[in-house]
């Protein structure tokens, strides 16, 4: 069969679009290689998702339905998909760099004896040799490394949500669905007693038109909290760099960067962020970037459309007050 395979991570489907984004990229790669895009999907009652993947550009869906596949179980999923890969021999296998993909894909790559490029920010096909060129941040995000896997198959990579754009839903699309014979051996070491969706504040960073990002330069959690008010006033969302998340000022869900989300808003205000490559790879898609930092040599200014050099703990309250006043005045004018 060969071809380009995408792992169908359908959990929280209508918010988590990374599988659809990978299908779109997979289509480009498959067209270059004159092959097909196959989405691999495991679970119970996955009919709806199989249809969605066809609507968003997959040629083939490979499905396994079984009550023991209802919940993700690392060992069960790895064993089953490794068998499929060994039997059908895809050239390329991609997954979203979600918490799920980050746990499952390295295990699968190890089982298959092949390489894995994690958190890729670009995927292309070498026009001469046909290898997958996997661009991924390296050396703590200071470099972008181009990785190829010349001797082992499949060529495996995980990719951030938001790096690629999905193909719009096409209800006229038609594809094939394969149901390979499966032998599911439930995981012996882990027994799932129940599964419950985590209640979290809705964060729509990838789709937001305005994003306010805070970094360690904000100095404290109290200052970071001001970003939420600014985001609310500008009808935007709040993102954070890795150091701000590690400091406990922001949830992991708000993380932007090579191990977090990528965004493409019309306006991005980056406050107290130095501009390390691992962060800036996630904001390349922003139309306008305003950066505030006390260090005039901070790398963030190289990509900012407008830069303010100063202490963000001083500038942020002033900016907030200005925006508040402006909005009040606009309301009065209306």
């Amino acid at each position: 069969m060969n071809g380009v395979w995408i792992f169908g991570d359908y959990r929280n489907y209508f918010q988590n679009r990374v599988t659809l984004q990978l299908i779109a990229k997979g289509r480009e790669l498959a067209e270059t290689l004159a092959t097909e895009v196959t989405v691999v999907i495991l679970g119970e009652e996955v009919h709806q998702y199989a249809m969605e993947y066809i609507a968003h550009g997959a040629d083939v869906v490979m499905a396994a339905e079984h009550p023991d596949l209802k919940y993700y179980q690392l060992e069960t999923y790895t064993t089953l998909i490794a068998r499929w890969v060994e039997a059908f021999k895809p050239d390329i296998f991609l997954a979203g760099a979600t918490s799920f993909g980050r746990e499952f894909f390295p295990r699968l790559a190890k089982r298959l004896g092949t390489g894995l490029s994690a958190d890729c920010v670009s995927l292309e096909v070498d026009p001469e040799k046909g290898f997958l060129l996997q661009t991924t941040p390296a050396c703590g995000g200071e470099l972008l490394a181009e990785v190829v896997t010349p001797h082992h198959r499949p060529q495996m990579a995980t990719v951030h949500p938001g790096v690629f754009q999905e193909i719009p839903h096409d209800s006229t699309a038609v594809g094939r669905i394969l149901y390979p014979e499966i032998e599911v051996q439930p995981e012996q070491r882990v027994k799932i007693l129940r599964s419950q969706r985590q209640q979290v504040r809705r964060n729509n960073l990838e789709e937001a038109q305005v994003v306010i990002v805070g970094g360690l330069g904000l100095g404290s959690k109290e200052h970071f909290r001001l970003l939420f008010e600014l985001a609310e006033l500008l009808e935007g969302e709040v993102g954070a760099t890795r150091p701000a998340v590690l400091a406990g000022w922001a949830d992991e869900e708000m993380l932007l960067g090579q191990t977090g989300k990528a965004v493409k808003p019309r306006l991005l205000i980056s406050i107290g962020t130095s501009g390390a490559l691992q962060y800036t790879t996630a904001i390349h898609g922003a139309e306008t970037i305003i950066a505030i930092n006390r260090d005039p040599h901070a790398p963030i200014f190289k990509m900012a459309d407008l830069g303010l050099v100063g202490d963000c703990t001083t500038i942020l309250p002033l900016l907030l007050e200005t925006v508040r006043r402006r909005i009040r005045r606009e309301r009065m004018d209306d």
Binding site: H47, A50, M51, A55, D170, R176, Y179, P180
Partner: protein
């Protein structure tokens, strides 16, 4: 090599047969004038009603009913057609359902489930309830790519 089953699916509407999605299927021989058949045709985007045609016979090979695109067109078995919120049912005179058709609505598509216990002209069981829909015994064509209703109409 791993064995696998395959069918063609639509992004818009599918039927569930043998635990598989398929955009259309044929069981039996719709080209004959007398033999049993069950046909589910492609539902194009913009439409949501499944398209079921059938010639149903009982275990003694006696004609019970002919169905043309969900409507009874020949009814020697004095069956009744009952609409409901999800689809329709065909009931025999004693009120037992011979065929139930129901459509599930997804966010961007539709899935039609059937429920039936059907026999061919030799008294062989061809279709029975399975996994929320039906299982077909013997040959079923799941790779139907184009409507075949005109063909059925001509032969009937």
């Amino acid at each position: 090599m791993i064995k696998y089953r395959e069918s063609i699916i639509s992004a818009h509407h599918n039927y569930l047969v043998n635990g598989m999605l398929t955009q259309a299927f044929v069981v039996g021989n719709p080209n004959s004038r007398m033999e049993f058949f069950l046909v589910a045709e492609i539902v194009p985007p913009g439409e949501i009603t499944p398209r079921i045609s059938a010639r149903l016979v009982d275990e003694k090979a006696q004609l019970v009913l002919e169905l043309d695109l969900n409507k009874i067109c020949n009814n020697p078995g004095r069956c009744s057609h009952q609409l409901n919120a999800e689809g329709f049912r065909i009931l025999n005179p004693s009120g037992e359902a011979l065929l139930e058709v129901s459509t599930k609505i997804f966010a961007n598509g539709y899935l039609t489930l059937l429920k039936a216990r059907l026999f061919d002209g030799h008294g062989k069981l061809r279709v029975e309830p399975f996994d929320g829909s039906i299982r077909v015994h013997g040959k079923a064509d799941l790779s139907l790519k184009a409507p075949i209703h005109k063909l059925i109409s001509k032969s009937s």
